[in-house]
Assembly symmetry: C2
Homo-oligomer: 227 residues x 2
DNA sequence: CGAAAAATTGATCGACATCAATCTGTGTGG
DNA sequence: CCACACAGATTGATGTCGATCAATTTTTCG
């Protein structure tokens, strides 16, 4: 599946919006606020945005497509920690450590905005509102997230589908019908289980008429949190 | 078990240190930097520091004792998301949302420092270094943490013990011999498993001479990540 | 079309959950 | 002080969900 699961989102639906606006990176007077002056970066499916330990120079905002944040265990196995959807900001840990803490890889063709840290740190010492906007951005990211790798397999799979739906909706995309954007293997890694188990549960939800599914294309019909 | 698992840590070992220093909350000239001018707050075991949805007014730094960050499911069951040890900063999500996002409860008698947000926001608009220190603090908190509720039960239990050891050591406390600070039930909740399973694994590690254990008092002997 | 990757499906096994009983420690009131 | 109650912890027997092994089927892509 090499098509992006989503079209590009509008700047105003992005977590980085306020920071861009105050940094003068979005041209004024644009109705959607989608005309930007900052750098765009495109990635093909499977390519890395950055890797753990690498010196950090930029913050990124996902505009289109999905990425995975992964960790490589002692055995060399890759474990997916989170998936990143349009509107997410990546690399926020770079302010403190000066280096990225995980590998981030495109699941599909991805377009994201790149903001050099140098530009930000230079500006936030002058523009008070920009410092406040950065503090807000980081603050929201610092709340512990609900873990997807907990509870029964049914809860995990349903949890992932509902989480993706919630995210897409929040960004102005379709939350009822969307692409998973990842293979069963990647879902299994994210949910800390096995590919066969994921497949079986997806089919089960399908038989129960809770979802429609063809490959990676999902439609939520009557899926509920505890189901 | 109503005794705190640790003595108080030094200010210089705390994540909030730089913010306090720049905010003028630590009196200068103190060798240890432990003489503070901010407000202290003490909690008895089982009492709440704050709860989800409550309007946020302060940031907290743990000085002594441990706390749990919990989430209450639809069924009313409490699930522990993280445990918080001395030096940790709590409530950082408050900058963005103006309210706390989880319940935080003392596992033992706890002493923590309280920093009113009003005081911080007032000062960081004047003191540039303080804004930078806050951005650093939040930045470090925004990196996804390694999940303890993944892998086999052995990996989870060993992971918890090693994580606690790492934290205590980092804060200048004893990382080889310490108190778990929580019941088996609470460990089970944190690791997404059952109390009996936790008990059995702890006993197994004991029989294998990887740890010493009496109640909540642990000594690490030869415990390794993958065991 | 044909090769390779992804996904589904089935059979069997094992780790952890569940149910149940006992043990241990701690605080309380007689 | 001791008997008692109660919560926490341990231990055992059994059941079940998800892992593992294995074989197809479906989809993707050159």
């Amino acid at each position: 599946m090499t098509t992006p699961s989503t079209g590009p989102i509008a700047c105003r639906a992005c977590d980085l919006h306020e920071v861009c606006r105050l940094g003068g990176l979005i041209a004024l007077g644009d109705r959607n606020g989608t005309h930007r002056t900052g750098a765009l970066r495109t990635l093909r499916a499977g390519t890395r945005l950055y890797r753990a330990g690498e010196p950090a120079h930029s913050l990124f905002a996902v505009r289109q497509g999905m990425l995975k944040t992964v960790e490589v265990g002692t055995d060399g196995e890759e474990r997916i920690i989170t998936v990143n959807t349009p509107g997410d900001v990546l690399g926020t840990e770079a302010f403190g450590r000066r280096m990225y803490s995980h590998d981030v890889v495109a699941l599909q063709p991805v377009v994201c905005c790149e903001l050099p840290l140098s530009l930000l740190s230079e500006q936030y010492s002058r523009v008070r509102e920009l410092a406040a906007a950065l503090i807000n951005l980081l603050s929201r990211a610092s709340a512990p997230r609900a873990a997807l790798a907990r509870g029964s397999i049914r809860e995990r799979v349903a949890g992932l589908l509902l989480e993706l739906a919630r995210r897409f909706e929040q960004r102005g995309l379709d939350g009822r019908r969307f692409s998973l954007g990842m293979t069963r293997q990647e879902i299994a890694s994210l949910l800390d289980t096995r590919i066969e188990t994921v497949s079986r549960m997806i089919q089960k939800l399908h038989r129960e008429r809770a979802i429609e599914i063809t490959g990676q294309q999902v439609t939520l019909l009557s899926l509920k949190p505890t189901g």
